[in-house]
Amino acid sequence: MSEHQTVGELLALAAAGVLTAGEQRRVEDHARACEACARQLEAWRALSGELRRLPTPAAPAELVARTRARVFEELAAAAERRWDDAVLVFLSLFAWTVGVAVWAIVRLVNNGLLALLDARFTEPVIWLTASSVLAWLTAGVVAVLVGHRRRMTWRNL
């Protein structure tokens, strides 16, 4: 391929300003010596200028206002979701902590306060099971409530 042909393929991109410095120099050097390419380059530059000056369609003001309102709603919903997540994490940790801690506490007071109750709860295994079930039940109910609220939020978006 001759230099003329090679440069000819670069003219449009030269006018678009996307060539490397080396390619741009090559095109301009050739155009200085070749009248046909110089005219073509000028024509491509004119077309590029036309494209840059095309009238900009303005976004309707009502669309922008509506979008801003939706952005606020979405930000509020996102903040609520983050809060729900934090509550869920806290409750899960709480359930685990209760489950583990109760065992140690029962062991500590087994021969003291609980002995006075004279109930089957003095059995550590029963006490541990009951408290764990209670803790997990609480966490489960809260998880369902949080999930329900989240579904409602998404439906309203």
């Binding site: 996307v18 077309l47 669309l63």
Partner: protein, 165 residues
């Protein structure tokens, strides 16, 4: 509160550019408005994933690009394939005659007849003034592909303009 203010500032700053980009790509004002809203909601949902070291413009247009391309694929009204190269204009004088006349409307009309991928690369380069690397990021294509797509888009536009004169 600061997050809300920043996002509202961004919506205001990019309102016309984003709308213009979407309108050039989908051509239908109602669809462009719908995608405009969807783009900002997507931005809000994913703002924590945005890498501040990258260009926000490129990221914003990339989000809009994904939504618009999904829409065009669903519509199937026009091909998203790269069209074959058209022969270069044979009569340079015809182009010069074109350029000498008042024809912003003519250029816009000719541009709207181009395939979606060509319209997109032209608006990103000449109207949004994105660099080649940023365009590649927006359209998720290699630099060489964007370069050749831009050249073909310009040649196609030139051909269309010449047939109109």
């Amino acid at each position: 509160m600061a997050e809300e203010d920043s996002l509202v500032t961004l919506v205001t700053r990019y309102q016309h550019r984003l709308y213009r980009y979407l309108l050039r790509l989908v051509r239908d004002p109602a669809t462009a408005e719908d995608l405009f809203q969807q783009t900002w909601l997507r931005v809000v949902q994913n703002i924590r994933r945005y890498d501040a070291l990258r260009s926000f413009e490129a990221w914003l247009f990339s989000v809009a690009h994904n939504l618009a391309i999904d829409h065009l694929r669903r519509q199937r009204l026009e091909s998203l394939d790269e069209p074959p190269a058209e022969p270069a204009a044979s009569d340079p004088d015809a182009l010069e005659r074109c350029l000498a006349s008042e024809r912003a409307g003519l250029v816009a009309a000719s541009m709207s007849e181009l395939p979606a991928l060509y319209r997109e690369v032209l608006t990103l380069r000449f109207e949004e003034e994105l660099k080649l690397e940023e365009i590649a990021e927006v359209v998720h294509a290699p630099l060489s592909t964007v370069k050749s797509r831009l050249r073909r888009a310009l040649e196609s536009l030139r051909s269309k303009l010449e047939t109109r004169v």
